[in-house]
């Protein structure tokens, strides 16, 4: 082990013994490091952690990652099916670089359905870092570089098909990542502040304050959430901008979401108050502030982070549900819930099932966050290893 020499303990001078070196580094590993050891053994959680990380990276660079401008309409491609990616051309020849054929639409005169026919005369190779639609990254830096696409501006690739107005669904889903994933975070941060204050006060002081707070939390929890959201969301003025609505929705979501976090914090505070090491610190003459910030908060943090991670998917689902019902974010904003509105009627789902793809993204994001949160929660438990 490379760590053997770093520990500086006498084991380092013993004949090279991997076991001893490992034991020494384990012994000198901090609680966070141990948490990481344990988390990294939980393979599913690690994979989901990578997925979540990817989603947030995508959310940060949506304009670059998306192949097209999400608002670019193309009536000729309305409801176009996902473009097929080919490796073998019409002549049966194999190409290492994937390519697509251009598509033209024509009306089938028997069924009156719009049919899309691949034009096999010209191959359009997919390539990385192509120049395409202009955009401003974060509304600041003008650019036209996209992660991938086809060089030829005339041919458009719809990897996940097109919607009613011929807009590229993949680009729209990628753009939706920003709002959908961030509303979860923003909502959780706000709930976290309400939760940590209410839960901390409840758990720290106990007694009557605790009883009253717990009854309030139970009351809030017992309210049916959907009608409450509907009521609050319907009260938002319709002339508000996208950003205003976004923050209003965040507030609405966290007004309900804080209860779970408050209960986690309260439970930890109550449990910690009884821990012997807190009493030991008191008997050592350690000041109250030092006990709170050096003993209690660090013991909290790992649990809180796990609880936060588990709260994000709830927010995402809530936002999706609200937007799907048309009461959350509205048209110019793009979120997965807004995109799913397109899939509200049976006709479009039957005609263009790819419109359900944003729903698949919600499932992926929520599952990934849940497994990640589970892994973190298990890793945060200092007595289970």
């Amino acid at each position: 082990m490379t760590t053997t020499s770093e520990t500086g303990t006498p084991e380092a001078f013993q004949p090279a013994d991997n076991g001893a070196g490992k034991a020494a580094s384990y012994a000198a590993a901090s609680e966070w490091r141990l948490m990481w050891y344990k988390f990294s053994r939980h393979r599913l959680a690690v994979i989901c952690g990578i997925i979540v990380l990817l989603l947030y990276v995508v959310a940060a660079f949506v304009e670059f990652v998306a192949p097209y401008d999400p608002e670019a309409q193309n009536p000729a491609s309305a409801y176009q099916a996902p473009t097929r990616i080919h490796f073998v051309d019409a002549d049966g020849q194999f190409h290492l670089r994937p390519f697509v054929y251009g598509t033209s639409s024509q009306r089938n005169l028997d069924t009156f359905e719009l049919e899309f026919v691949e034009d096999t005369s010209a191959r359009h190779h997919l390539s990385l870092f192509v120049q395409g639609d202009d955009y401003r990254l974060w509304g600041l830096f003008p650019s036209n570089l996209h992660l991938f696409g086809v060089e030829d501006a005339d041919a458009r690739v719809y990897l996940l098909g097109a919607d009613r107005q011929g807009r590229d669904l993949l680009s729209r889903i990628i753009h939706g990542t920003r709002l959908s994933m961030s509303i979860g975070l923003a909502g959780v941060v706000m709930s976290f502040f309400i939760g940590i204050v209410v839960g901390g006060v409840s758990g720290y002081f106990g007694g009557t304050i605790d009883i009253v707070t717990q009854r309030i939390i139970e009351f809030v929890r017992s309210m049916p959430t959907i009608p409450l959201w509907l009521g609050l969301a319907a009260a938002l003025p319709s002339n508000w901008s996208v950003m205003q609505v976004y923050f209003a929705i965040t507030v609405i979501l966290s007004l309900i979401g804080w209860t779970g976090l408050a209960q986690v914090v309260r439970g930890r505070a109550l449990a910690l108050r009884e821990e012997d090491f807190i009493m030991a610190a008191r008997l050592c003459g350690t000041s109250r502030t030092r006990i709170i910030f050096k003993h209690m908060v660090p013991s909290f943090m790992s649990h809180i982070i796990a609880a936060l991670t588990l709260a994000v998917p709830e927010m995402i689902i809530a936002e999706t549900a609200l937007s799907f019902l048309g009461l959350g974010l509205r048209y110019p904003a793009i979120s997965w819930g807004v995109l799913l509105q397109e899939a509200q009627n049976l006709r479009s789902v039957a005609l263009a099932p790819w419109l359900l793809a944003p729903g698949a993204m919600v499932v992926i994001a929520v599952l990934a966050l849940n497994f990640l949160g589970d892994g973190l929660r298990d890793a945060a438990d200092p007595y289970r290893r």
Partner: protein, 345 residues
């Protein structure tokens, strides 16, 4: 000093004088926390501790021995009573009345060793932080000096000083208990309250830990209040023993007197339950009837009477007082004079 009896007994000066110590927990109901009863965890407990001795505090679980120990250190606030602590500077102080700065100053002189070597050490701190915590809290030392002091303390309790960068999870129960002992000794206290310090340990490391405690006592002139339910451990380490039952002291005696001539029927029953090393010997264990009395609903008269094989009518109605009989042995029993109880052979 005048408030306390002249105190130069052969065992040493009187270090701690506990008078009428009481800890009641109210039982509350409803939102307004109306008091509907009280748990008398510690009820009018009086005893003293001499400097340099080891005083055992024994009893079944729930008898109030841990609460008593915690009241002495003000880990919990007593409801009533005095705890006079005399450091020999002519200024005895009442721990029960101390607050803020004066209480913090007292903490330097009294420390605790915990029962559970796992929950009593913050898993997120290294040994250096843990053992150095009292030193940092009192601003005694920091930096290099702190490391040196911690290294010395670790060595003193039989741990390698190189381990100070490690976290408690790397140590066994016995080693963790040594860490706890090192922390308790960091400030050179006079009084150490050891709350069941070996009952969570394997039998194999109990003796080592007890020997360590005895060595440290001799070397550093420590005074121990040793709380335990294990009478064989108490016999090994204690000079005098206080027996508690449902929050009250029922017998106080020198260890040898208590073991050979117990005066209280409860002590006799406890002693009969001590396992004997000789398997041939007929077990003559006294099995007590019923459960330990509920401290929120203490029986009338002598709290022990429902379980006492010697109970008479008086025991049911009249509360006995703690009286001294024989050679300084104190007992709380109406029939102490007439009974001849069986000790350890």
């Amino acid at each position: 000093m005048s408030a306390i009896e002249p105190a130069f007994t052969p065992a040493g000066r009187r270090l701690l004088d506990v008078k009428g110590l009481t800890k009641h927990y109210p039982i509350t109901r409803g939102l307004l926390r109306r008091e509907v009863g009280r748990v008398r965890a510690v009820d009018d407990v009086t005893f003293h501790v001499d400097e340099g001795e080891t005083l055992g505090l024994v009893g079944e679980s729930g008898c109030g021995k841990t609460s008593t120990g915690r009241c002495l250190l003000r880990a919990i606030d007593p409801t009533d009573g005095q705890i006079i602590f005399d450091r020999g500077d002519g200024k005895p102080v009442d721990i029960a009345q101390s607050e803020g700065g004066s209480l913090k100053a007292l903490r330097r002189d009294m420390q605790m060793i915990f029962q559970d070597p796992f929950s009593s050490l913050n898993p997120r701190w290294t040994l250096l932080d843990l053992v150095g915590e009292p030193l940092v809290a009192f601003g005694v030392s920091k930096g290099k000096a702190l490391e040196e002091r911690v290294a010395y303390l670790l060595e003193r309790v039989g741990l390698r000083p190189e381990y100070m960068r490690r976290y408690p999870h790397a140590f066994s129960g016995g080693e963790r208990q040594r860490i706890g002992i090192a922390r308790a000794l960091a400030l050179n206290p006079r009084l150490v309250v050891a709350d069941e310090p070996v009952s969570a340990l394997d039998v194999s490391v109990r003796a080592q830990t007890l020997n360590l405690l005895e060595e440290l006592q001799q070397e550093l002139g420590l005074t121990y209040l040793f709380i335990s339910h294990d009478l064989s451990v108490v016999q090994h380490i204690c000079d005098r023993v206080v027996v508690m039952y449902v929050g009250k002291v029922v017998e106080v005696a020198k260890t040898a007197d208590l073991y050979f001539t117990p005066r209280h029927p409860y002590t006799e029953a406890l002693l009969s339950a001590v396992p004997k090393p000789d398997p041939e010997q007929q077990s003559s264990r006294i099995v007590l009837q019923g459960e330990v009395a509920d401290p929120s609903n203490i029986p009338s008269g002598c709290a022990f009477h429902p379980r006492c094989p010697y109970a008479i009518e008086k025991c049911r109605t009249v509360v006995p007082v703690l009286e001294t009989i024989g050679d300084g042995q104190q007992v709380r029993c109406h029939r102490a004079h007439e009974l001849s109880l069986r000790g350890v052979e």
